[in-house]
Symmetry: C2
Amino acid sequence: MKSKKENTHTALLRAALALFAAQGFDGTSTALIAKQAGVASGTLFFHFATKEELINQLFEEIKLKIENVLLENYQPSQPVHERFIQGFSALLRYFLVNPQHLQFMEQYHFSPLSTCALNDNYNNHVLKNILHEARETSAVKDIPVQVLHALAFGPIVSLAKEHATRGCTVDEAMIHATITACWDGMKT
Amino acid sequence: MKSKKENTHTALLRAALALFAAQGFDGTSTALIAKQAGVASGTLFFHFATKEELINQLFEEIKLKIENVLLENYQPSQPVHERFIQGFSALLRYFLVNPQHLQFMEQYHFSPLSTCALNDNYNNHVLKNILHEARETSAVKDIPVQVLHALAFGPIVSLAKEHATRGCTVDEAMIHATITACWDGMKT
DNA sequence: AAACCTACTGAGTAGTCAGTCAGTTTATTT
DNA sequence: AAATAAACTGACTGACTACTCAGTAGGTTT
């Protein structure tokens, strides 16, 4: 059973996520977030010191969720090619199911709040290691890491963004075609 | 010889572009744009009815520039594969040389001002036709257009964004590796 | 039942925002 | 040189912003 405090806390985070995804950080006032969460405007600042802290907490929460999703389905015994397909398909599926999370992460990455490298925001240890291992074992071409990252993450983000902002349908066949093509372009 | 009006007009557009790329649309006040352009705050509204119109004019200007760059180097006599490499390399090179333009376009696409489909913002007739022709002639896999777009534009945007926001160096070899890998992933 | 504490309220504060407009300067025409 | 028009100025406005804080409600402890 959740405490009242926790309920309000998560209600604020959820309202903020929806509004941030739709209108952006700067386009969303703290008063509106509070209203959407069903509390008074001052209550937001009882739970979060500043608007920025609310954004940072949201970022950490989403980052953790993605990490968990990828860890759940990770099978270290599989060959690197299988793990690539599996891992990056899971990431794409996640963003298709949670479009607001992608829109939030994209904004966060662009904003001055973000300090880490571009794809680091999505790039947990699982996916990072897969790419790294594929490169070391010569399963993929010997090209700079930045290029590998762009080739692997670029199409995923691009397709998921299209889905998030324009609502085009993306089925399993399209997911498979995308991730397979990414690998085919990278492999030796 | 440019008129005084034209000078001020372009000075405002240039200042706006630099500030928008660095701080975002909402994070940049019209007063600051005017100051950076060396004019009084009211002058901006003599040249542009609203802040939104300024943004839209900037979008049209950048879109036109990209179209021209791609048309300049277009060689219809070449096979579709050559035109793909040539065209998409030119787009990537453009964004590496004009990082602010990419950052602006990315913001514009996300904002409620943009109405067209995702990659349509970069996707002028040249690149669109190349992809379309490659698909019709079975030079590339028979997969949905959205997937083709994501595979072709995703890595370019991703790599150029990394360059724009983190300043990592991208040389000709990396450009070639990226575009070649895109094609290799798509080809039949 | 008194004291205490946590969660919450919403009017209020100081500051910023896009956009206005009466008036001034500069350029062009007559 | 007078008249007209175009370009520009910057103080101003009302609406909005993140954030504050004195006060309130309800539950728990003593």
